[in-house]
């Protein structure tokens, strides 16, 4: 079972991101379970969402306490809460930022995780470029696919397509996701 925890702030589409990821996995005939950190959502407040992916039925209903991957939509959260709590030693950390890791003071965690498991991606820049609004979640999912290979890009693209009934917005998000996916692969190749 692969468990992903999303961190962001209300209004950034954190919950949507977890759901889209679960749909992507579903489209690959796998079981997936997405759920938010429940509560009355308020814009700007720290929000957590979860996604479990497995090849068999998922029965577990507890929150994800030891994630295999963390997707952080807002780096300022590192100052507010212990984002990395419970992250597995073999886990992945994907951060939305156009700054290098050391500027984010994440050196400690980088050391603890396997090489190449920690990555920043300028998801908001991609979002502004393709969508015109600071909604980094699609781009992050593209990047996640590239970083972990847990789901394929085409599944993510299809899931995004389902998630946005308006074709134009869907395509814009798909573009952002694809761009992020390519960017990560390029980085890895470098």
């Amino acid at each position: 079972m692969f468990q992903v925890r999303f961190h962001g702030r209300g209004g950034q589409g954190v919950v949507t991101a977890s759901e889209v990821l679960s749909v992507a996995a579903f489209l690959e005939n796998r079981h997936a379970q997405a759920f938010p950190s429940f509560g009355s959502e308020r814009k700007g407040a720290p929000v957590v969402a979860f996604c479990r992916i497995d090849d068999k039925e998922i029965r577990l209903r507890e929150p994800i306490m030891e994630p295999d991957a963390l997707i952080v939509q807002d780096p300022t959260l590192f100052k507010a809460i212990d984002v990395c709590q419970g992250l597995k030693r073999t886990g992945y950390l994907l951060v939305n930022s156009n700054r290098p890791l050391h500027e984010l003071h994440l050196d400690k965690i980088v050391k603890e995780l396997p090489a190449g498991h920690v990555l920043t991606v300028p998801a908001t820049d991609f979002a502004m470029k393709y969508i015109g609004r600071p909604l980094p979640n699609a781009a992050l999912l593209g990047a996640f696919a590239a970083l972990t290979g847990v789901v394929q890009l085409k599944s993510v693209v299809a899931a995004i397509h389902d998630a946005f009934p308006a074709e134009k917005i869907a395509l814009a998000n798909i573009a952002a996701a694809t761009a992020a996916y390519d960017a990560v692969n390029a980085q890895a190749a470098a």
Binding site: S22, F26, A32, F38, I58, L60, R61, E62
Partner: protein, 423 residues
Amino acid sequence: MLKQIEGSRAMAEAIGLCRPEVICAYPITPQTHIVEGLGEMVKSGELKGCEFINVESEFAALSVAIGASAAGARAYTATASQGLLYMAEAVYNASGLGLPIVMTVGNRAIGAPINIWNDHSDAMSMADAGWMQLFAETNQEAADLHIQAFKLAEELSMPIMVCVDGFILTHAVERVDIPSQEAVDAYLPSYDPVQVLDPTDPISIGAMVGPDAFTEVRFLQHYKQNLALRLIGDLAGEFKAQFGRDSGGLLRTYRADDAELLVVAMGSVNGTIKDVIDEMRADGIRIGLVTLVSFRPFPIEQLRKVLVGRKNVVVVEKSLAVGMGGQLALHVGLALRNVAGAPQVHSCVAGLGGRPITRPSLHKLFRRALVQPWEGTHFLDLNEEIIAKELHHVRKVRRSGPTAENILRRLSGSEPAHLPAAE
């Protein structure tokens, strides 16, 4: 058709397939997404021949359903928590009048302190109101139970609550198989009421009944619930034949055959417990599970059959009868009443107000049941330190302030304001 879908939406679609004729909606978290989904289906014309009414309170919601049902329409509504309490009077009335209304309860705690998260206090408060109560373990079962619920209610002319854990199920996106309209139509006949308000054949419904007949009326209600004990199983069987899925029934067991320790629980927590059981079985511990689906009627016989001969029974429940303990545990005890060599029953109250029930806690709990079984009610993951401080504080200071707020402050590290820190 398989869908990766939010639980609430899945339930809405299943309810829509049952062709309800009157739906009453009043918002309360966490049930809201269900009626939102239905409202959308009615407005879009996807759900035809259905009146969707936005009412001014839960009391009105169930009252409108009562009128609709008495006039021969298939009626549905949903609520939770305070909402269920607010409609309490109508809850008893609907069952007293024998109206087959189906109501989803998105299980949630009851205030004060106000709390929007999941537990079973709301359903428990209305357990004796004369309704059937079925608890769903998964969103698949939640969807399926609604389809069975309409058939159950209408065959017995008795209302029914489908209880689903708030947020944990209602807001979870997962795989659900939504049946086809044809299949549902084949399973669920159209509503044929045993009594109906009809100008061509008038009757008076809801007469005042005195001591001369009231006991009989109540007995007949009780008798009908006993009939439900058989029917619930039968309809689950028919359902499996039609849809090929195990959903509903009175109760289910998991790895129970040779178990010395049986866990009894209701709702979504059963999933987590199953994982824990697998892990413990891997360690060679003979533990199993009884998943109770039907809390009303309460399957005393069936439960006894399963429990008799075991050493220990741990009841994990998301409700507390303040001043008594765990209600489910009390009921389980009832199943073992006057049974020679009955197993020890250990009550555990867990997950109140949405507190996560985690595998580590359950491991500890079940192992403790084996090594040092307890009497009375155990509270899972109770923060003893905070309790001690608050009790001390209350003893010291007459005007000790609101307990809930004090505890929140302590959790955040700061002591209750305007007061010297305890010790």
